[in-house]
Symmetry: C2
Subunit: 587 residues, 2 copies
Amino acid sequence: MPNYTAPLDDMLFLFEKLRDNKNYNELEKYNEVNSDLVKDILGEAAKISENLILPLALSGDENPAQLENGVVRTPPGYKEAYSKYIEDGWISLSCDPKYGGQGMPKTVSAFFDEMLSSASLSFKLYSELTIGAYNCLLRHAPEEMKDKYLPKMVEGKWSGTMCLTEPVCGTDLGMLKTKAVEQKDGTFKISGQKIFITSGDHDLTENIIHLVIARASDSPPGTKGISLFLVPKYIVNDDGSIGPRNGVSTGSVEHKMGIKGSATCVLNFDEAVGYMIGPKNKGLNQMFTMMNLERIVVGIQGLGISEIAYQNSLSYAKERKQGKTNNSKSTNGADFIIEHADIRKSLLNMKSIIEGERALCFWLSQQTEVSLYHSDENIKQEASDYVSLMTPVVKSLFTDLAMEITSDAMQIHGGYGFTKDQGIEQLYRDNRITPIYEGTNSVQAADLVFRKLINKNGDIITKFLKMIKSECESKNENVKTFSKEINYYIDILSKFTDWIKEKHTNDKDDVSAAANDYLKTLGFVSLAYSWIKVLEVSYKEHETNKKFYDDKINTAKFFFQKILPRAEFHYKSAISGSSNIMNFKFN
Amino acid sequence: MPNYTAPLDDMLFLFEKLRDNKNYNELEKYNEVNSDLVKDILGEAAKISENLILPLALSGDENPAQLENGVVRTPPGYKEAYSKYIEDGWISLSCDPKYGGQGMPKTVSAFFDEMLSSASLSFKLYSELTIGAYNCLLRHAPEEMKDKYLPKMVEGKWSGTMCLTEPVCGTDLGMLKTKAVEQKDGTFKISGQKIFITSGDHDLTENIIHLVIARASDSPPGTKGISLFLVPKYIVNDDGSIGPRNGVSTGSVEHKMGIKGSATCVLNFDEAVGYMIGPKNKGLNQMFTMMNLERIVVGIQGLGISEIAYQNSLSYAKERKQGKTNNSKSTNGADFIIEHADIRKSLLNMKSIIEGERALCFWLSQQTEVSLYHSDENIKQEASDYVSLMTPVVKSLFTDLAMEITSDAMQIHGGYGFTKDQGIEQLYRDNRITPIYEGTNSVQAADLVFRKLINKNGDIITKFLKMIKSECESKNENVKTFSKEINYYIDILSKFTDWIKEKHTNDKDDVSAAANDYLKTLGFVSLAYSWIKVLEVSYKEHETNKKFYDDKINTAKFFFQKILPRAEFHYKSAISGSSNIMNFKFN
């Protein structure tokens, strides 16, 4: 089983030193969320992740969630751990105090998301979708619905799901077939089949609150006729007590390559009672509130799994002796593999990606809070646009790079990486869902190039590029070397952006074919931007903590020398266009 | 379960049209191996792969090989299939007729290796190591040993293994601890533990012939004291009959992420009777005869798994409807995903890599035969040097790209790619061993930059670059466009090579850190070189089969536009050197 120690130093560094975001600091509601408090919270979060949740990873992999006589059983240990988890209030960390939450900002809860993902993604998913459903209800449900359902969800006694996918529609939700027939009392009867429903059923909570998209009888076809419904597993009585079982049953639990502890269900709705959330036919927009926040969390899952893969690779590399290095001083026997250049390179590849991602994610958490709570509408909108722009990038880039990192971790472990003993192969399998769910990474890329670069508020990408270019202009001589380097790639990204915009008008297939490459280029430049912010602090405060800041500076160097150049290949490959691709005649 | 149809058209195209290799055509022993014969053989090979072996893939994954009361049981169906397989003489395809083989060249048997890898890698491994052991014995064993063991191995009644790895040594065999104590009768008693032994024990054959490296009592430490021994599971009597059980037992069978049908064993040798093969203390060289051929086959495994992943992605993309394309004519519902630009790009990415690899592999098979059998020592040596140069490239590049291809296949399948139903995730898991075994891909890269570029016969890489540059000079105007493109990358590769050579003398760590990048650059250029050869034929013979050759030309275009540019990133990333990497202080 892999070991894990939450990277508290790095998290606290970001919280303390990268918080000079004026807009974020203007949010009065977080005035009291200071470093001392955050340090305490993250310390406790680390303990629960390391001690309570980490051991569940292996249990879940060896004893997958399964359907027994119509009931889904979670793996051994999950129930006890979940009880403790909600008892200590962890589900409520980022929730509104009005419903019993602790009201912590994403700048704190995102770190906890990362820790949980490192410890056991399967276990995490049981509460993650509750938060997703909570966020959706908080924004779109009528007050009485919120009052009825949210407190129990925040408490963790009830969990949540998002029911979108059907056998014929995953990416393309306009094709959905689930029907909602309105009843005289204003409720609906929901019928249809939903698949790939994470935590669709399980034995951890008293009730499950399904958020289901369906088409009302008199709604138009396509995406414009989709409404969102709340469908509880058990009907909730007016007094809040649990009533009779609703018409939802579990058809099967998927057998998957990874995250086996998580119950991925086929759910059959058979005239189940449902309550419409928000305005009719606006269900897809409402669901996207949930989806967008959730997509960022999926990116964080990739980051968390990368972190534990890195930690275990590092410790294995320090223990395993094999081969002599080029400058070996050993006279008999081999050197530790951490002395070998290519192993060191792999480790730094992981580390520089992980720390860059964590910094980018922290910036994104700040923007998210500003987008939700700033009093100035313009500032709020700008932040919202940045979040919207970076959501597909974080989701796709972090999860793809997590595959690279877990794969490199296997290579470092050699044959021991491929066998079950060390648990490395499980990280690789568990992470493999992240580039698929919540919209495949190609769907994210299409979302980026077709909907996010330019929207009704204007040319978001140009604003973003201008902003990072200006923030990367440093007065510090040391940082200037890096600024020069990032400017080279910002220029490439600008050219790439212009190319995309031009193709928007005259060849959309060129844009589609280039979408993944564009996302990667924007992603690597964004990571470099985060590193510049880290470097700025590292040089400025170098004297106060030399060891820590030297580590940062040299990790950044690696990123700029070895990783950032990838951006250019993506540009070059993409601008050759798509005519050959579109004209190709497949056999 | 994935479907599979052997790509006979492409294989026969290579055999018929890319065989204008003067040196290869001078090999008299293959005079009679003409297109008609090869067509018949490959046709039968396709049948057995598609009908007999393909169904074993799922069986092996669901019922892993396991140890029961000291005996290893193969998955259901393996025994019956294996009997049929050897009855029809498939093991003997490439073996010497002197020992009962069919004497087919690698230009034929490599295609069969590919088909078997597509159908079931786990099943294939049970005979693959027999051929490895056969090759090693053929070259290094005394005549009486060959007469005693080879006929039964060629027949498939006895199988073979290669026992190298021990708990403390995988890459670094000089550290091995297995001991060989000479007896009065000239035999040895072998004691020690070997791990990760593929097909180390199983129930398919009457006997298993282990080739074991061990250190004789009076041999020096390190790699110079390693000798090679033949250690049968059952002692073979002088009359060839099976005698008593030898002192080899199976400690355990590994639980692995993939190739679960293959028994990966811990073998304990306890004063087992062993017979020395070839000269004492030269065991590592002898084993490397086997290893090098085996490494090429591992590359072919990657190719085979890529092919079946591609075929199933293509057919799924033609069946699955999701979303509208940019130029959709569909008025209701979605388009087939094969109409989407990014899916088409993924498919062409697979196809252009696969067909380029197959062509490169065919060239390598020709070189291998020339290196073994040409009458002119200089020609033989040159071919041998090319094989030696390209072995790590084919092993690493093909297996890494097979991960990319099986991963893209999962993405095309979406959620269905991650569940067990379609068998796509199994391809991904099965292939994941290929970048690890027979020396990790980083070990291959180190072998390339430190031992293969320049050897005692001179500057092999310069000779190779000169050769491909001259062969890429085309008189055909159409091909010239591609030649110009490859020349740009050959120049980059030359600069990269010069950089590596310079660093050899003044900073070996720079070479180590750049090794994987260099391998990739050489690999992509070599694939482009293969494509140029294919293009030469395609334009020349275009009129004879327009559909086939248009397909080739457009696939080549994709490779040159979208994939070859990767070579440049690797160069740029690598030449930033290793000082930051080597000086980094890991926590």
